[in-house]
Amino acid sequence: MIGGSDMVFPAVGDAATLEACARIVARRWPDVRFEDAVTGDKYPRLSEIPFGKIRQLLAYPNAGAEAAWDADSPDSPENSMLLLIARPDDFTVVLDNPETAEMRSLLDAIHNLLWEDIHNAYARAA
């Protein structure tokens, strides 16, 4: 099972947000593989993803990690799969360990990217 940290960003979780964050993941992982978490449809390239039809997207750093997860391997390394969840009122990244340098960098980039949405959410709540 994917690990136990849900990083929730109070941003509009729509197709644009999902693509923006997937692009950041692809920068961090140049050999990334994506998969629709609901249907299991796989997308070797970012440009092939129909973001308008997907709300939960799995990301693997490479084909090897993807194969290990597909095989339910108990040896899948930490943070070798991310789950991106887009909901109307938030965007969530589910991962094993958010404290690694790699994941902190990735989460910081997503936070910066969604900053305007996050700012607006806090302004509405104030």
Binding site: A16, F51, N112, D117
Partner: protein, 168 residues
């Protein structure tokens, strides 16, 4: 052979579905808006072929079909169509929507004297890949930068993607 200008109803429907009806209603006279925008799409088709050497369709029906897969991309593109009169800048937007990386942005401005914007794109991850540079001397095109995804990666500046402005 049909042209994009055969598709006025489809474009109006697409604009209104994306809450961009103002692009028609604010144009004067309004009935000239759709023919003008269709011509813009025709000019973009020509620009695409001239720059990239193969054909792409920007017919409203094609955009509508893509909107079913990626509604945010078409919304962002239509917003750009409302901002820029430059086929070159619209092609730049389209190429980012197709997945190209924004390698360099150069903006020069001198009050009441000069404006220039240059955006260089390339395929992601390949430093040796062919660069595509798009230029504008129209200050209105500066508004396109508002749709760039803006972030930092490891503390380094990053423009990534072209996204629709949200409803307030």
């Amino acid at each position: 052979m049909s042209t994009i200008t055969d598709s006025p109803t489809a474009l109006e429907q697409l604009l209104r579905e994306n809450e961009l009806g103002w692009m028609i209603d604010m144009y004067w006279p309004p009935e000239h808006a759709i023919p003008f925008l269709l011509k813009q799409l025709d000019r973009l088709t020509v620009e695409f072929r001239a720059r990239l050497g193969y054909d792409a369709s920007f017919a409203p029906e094609t955009l509508k079909a893509e909107a079913e897969r990626n509604p945010h991309k078409i919304r962002a593109f239509l917003q750009a169509l409302g901002v820029s009169g430059s086929p070159e800048m619209l092609l730049m937007v389209w190429r980012i929507l197709q997945g190209l990386s924004i390698r360099e942005v150069a903006l020069n401005y001198r009050e009441l004297q000069a404006f220039s914007l240059s955006v260089t794109l390339a395929r992601p991850g390949d430093e040796q890949d062919e660069l595509e540079t798009y230029n504008s001397g129209d200050i209105n095109d500066a508004a396109l930068l508002r749709n760039f995804g803006i972030t930092t990666l490891d503390g380094r500046p990053l423009f990534d993607g072209f996204f629709p402005s949200r409803k307030k």
